[in-house]
């Protein structure tokens, strides 16, 4: 028991995530084969990967925001709004695809900028700032759209429907976005400063960092990613929908994927790679359980268990801040013998 714990302690959280993903894969393949289906069929792999892309986009953005020490609860509403703008502007005209995409992303960026400014300049915690923003958008959507709206042209719908072999185009775009986010985090000053601001804002400030910039950037990118998710959903559904984001529960699910990926909810520590692992685990769980035709309620129970167990494992791996001056191991001597020895050493 102790040895196993020791082994887990030595692994990085990203390694743990991928070990769990591998475990899910093996167990899933076995379970699926018991009902006579092939987990590794091209169709099934494609279906799992499709499942990763929408949550993947949102979770990438959420990772940046959480690393910077904030949160974004407005993502599902931005996703819904994005699907409506895209389908509305395109209006089944192939010539409008590019303007539709640009306008959708611009709107998403503006919302992200507003979130970022509220968090960084007005010092409202991200939880509250984006909860408010989410409510505003959700209210706007509920009063102005009663059902699906607009129409995506065929050329745009193909993006969500085609793939290279078993790999959907949407997954490739999502992975490209992930690569860009990693480049930002690990190879630019802004990325380094984002980690610093989330890790300890006063250290960042005394090191001469402009602390607003990383926070605002993270929020803008997060909303852009939610916009990308909205575009993908519009492409898949062929129409815009005012509830597509909130039905997916992407606000809490994306936070769960980020935390499952080993990112500290408090910020300052975590990776995009880990988040992708978290997204993959959720996608595989979903796939396995729908193939096995398990009660959908149980799906949430499994998700809940996975997330809580994962964070419990990470929490016990936290290393004490202050190393010991003396070994705290209890020596084999009896307390009485120790006391006598101590008394001798101390003298009268």
């Amino acid at each position: 028991m102790n040895q196993r714990a020791g082994m887990i302690d030595r692994l990085s959280s990203t390694q743990i995530v991928y070990l769990v993903a591998l475990l899910t894969l093996v167990v899933g393949a076995l379970l699926v084969s018991t009902i006579g289906r092939n987990f590794f069929s091209q169709g099934n792999i494609s279906s799992i990967l499709t499942g990763t892309s929408v949550l993947g986009f949102i979770a990438i953005g959420q990772t940046l925001v959480i690393l910077a020490g904030s949160l974004d609860l407005s993502v599902p509403y931005v996703t819904s709004l994005a699907s409506l703008i895209a389908a509305g502007v395109m209006a089944n005209n192939p010539a409008n695809v590019l303007p539709g995409v640009m306008l959708t992303l611009a709107a998403a960026a503006v919302i992200g900028l507003a979130n970022g400014l509220i968090v960084a300049r007005l010092n409202v915690h991200g939880f509250i700032a984006t909860l408010g923003m989410g409510l505003i958008i959700s209210g706007y959507l509920a009063t102005n759209f009663k059902g699906s709206f607009g129409q995506a042209p065929l050329s745009f719908r193909l993006i969500g429907a085609t793939g290279l072999g078993p790999v959907p185009i949407s997954t490739i775009i999502m992975l490209a976005c992930a690569a860009l986010a990693m480049l930002l985090l690990h190879r630019t000053r802004l990325g380094h400063h984002l980690y610093a601001v989330g890790g300890d804002i006063s250290v960042a400030r005394t090191s001469g960092i402009r602390i607003d910039l990383p926070v605002i950037t993270a929020h803008v990118i997060c909303s852009l990613m939610a916009g990308m998710a909205g575009l993908l959903l519009a492409s898949r559904l062929g129409v815009g929908s005012p509830t597509v984001g909130s039905q997916g529960g992407y606000d809490l699910l994306s936070i769960a994927a980020v935390v499952l990926g080993g990112t500290l909810l408090a910020g300052g520590k975590g990776t995009i790679t880990g988040t992708l692992g978290g997204v993959l685990i959720f996608a595989m769980l979903d796939n396995i359980m729908s193939v096995m035709q398990i009660n959908p309620f149980l799906k949430d129970v499994v998700r809940g268990v996975v997330i809580v167990v994962a964070v419990a494992v990470y929490a016990r791996r936290r290393i004490v801040n202050r190393p010991e001056r003396f070994s705290s191991k209890v020596s084999p001597q009896s307390p009485a013998a120790q006391a006598a020895q101590a008394a001798q050493a101390e003298g009268p």
């Binding site: 190879r187 980690y195 610093a196 005394t206 960092i209 290393i319 003396f326 705290s328 209890v330």
Partner: protein, 535 residues
Amino acid sequence: MENRERTGASSIPGVRPHGSEAPPPLLEVRGLTKSFFGIPVLEDAHLTLQRGQVHGLVGENGAGKSTLMKVLAGVYQPDAGTVLLDGQAVNFSHPTKAHEAGLSSVFQEFNLLPDRTVAENIYLGREPRRGALVNKALMNRKTAELLQSLGITAIRPTAQVRSLTVAEQQVVEIAKAVSYDARIVSMDEPTAALAGAEVELLYQIVSRLRERGTAILYVSHRLRELFDLCDVITVLKDGRVVSTGPASELDDASLVRLMVGRPISAFFPDKLPPPDSDDDRGNAEIIGAGVPATPILELRGAGNGQLEGISFSIRPGEIVGLAGLQGSGRTELLHAIFGAAPFSRGAMKVEGREFLPRSPRDGVRARMALITEDRKAEGLSLNQSILDNALTVIRSVFPRRTRAARTGIPGVFSSLEVVARDLDQEVQYLSGGNQQKVVLAKWLAIRPRLVLLDEPTRGIDVGAKVAVYRLMRRLAAEGKAILMVSSELPEVIGMSDRILVMRDGRLAGELPAGTSEEAVLQLGTGARIAPEGGA
């Protein structure tokens, strides 16, 4: 390598290759004055720092050392006085301004991101770039060179700071300070958290920096380090410079004499006679008869990760002072006794019975009270009412006694002379002194037998201090045992029946009541112990 060559030309202190007249000193401080809330902390301070000089800055707590350092670092703005760098007047409005001028500071609390690498921490905010991207290879290489120039090879630039020892983290902190091309590095108690052997590492770095011509302002309480490292020592007392001169002209005794000698204030109340009717099981009577009573607390060879070989006892009615330097393990000892960071070795007895509390709840159950050092963070719920705060402990540990305690609260408050509108007032609106009284009331509610006080008068006014002292005397007269940590030497000496002195996690010795500040400092710093010192 590059670094050493660049600074090689000025490596001889005070000598410059050109110029016939004497060059201005690297740093000169003139008439520096700083007050907080009308209380002067620094008055007319002056200081001169030459290239390649290690300048020791000593003084008791509150003498103004940290304030002086923070003014130089751009954290505080002085009320009056000038700081001259190379003969030019400078004024640092922000810490980054001081960095740019070549003046870096290493403060006591770490300014590092534990989850980032050594290189990422050192170059935070100034990451080297190639095009738009951070050049990690160059950053790691520069870090390795920087560490090497300080004589450190054991720290990898790519190591996570969290994985380093405290000493190594301190090295990273210093390396970060030096990396700003610092010509002056000031260090505030750099060895406070270090154990014996780790101090050597710091010595090595200081001598490397000195060779390179960097000037060092070295704040420390440890006399041995000051004499080992410093060329010049300046002594501060009550915000004023009382002496500055070559270290070779001073010795332990003369230095300690310069630091202390403040007249001990007359406000320590006299001991009270034990009350006639005693409600605390006759302990007071036993003392009165001169028979040694069962100690309330007894430790034998107790230790844990921060403490080693602690043995002492406290009898009913005794006030025992616990002195020692910052980081010597005083707070850790209180926390271990109370169960907040329990002992892992040795034996502890409470009123003669073996008892090792494993949690604060165990400690409270054994009727111990711990008045913590940081009352805002650990002592009070600032946005709750006075009454709720006063009942916190008894409610959670002895819920059935809450009602009785509640009726007694007004009496407790009036005896402590708490000034408040009413008991529903939120604690955050009270003065520091009244807040501390609320903390005390909260603990008195459990009728403690052992009261552990950690810096009980920090940041409170004189009136409240006297109230705390009177309360301590009253509790002692009632037969309670008191263990008090304090960095104010007059307070420790004025209030304690005996003084235990800690050093590096161990008890360095015991001193009798009315001992001198010199004796306490000598024991605490490890300086030569005067013949009359010791138990």
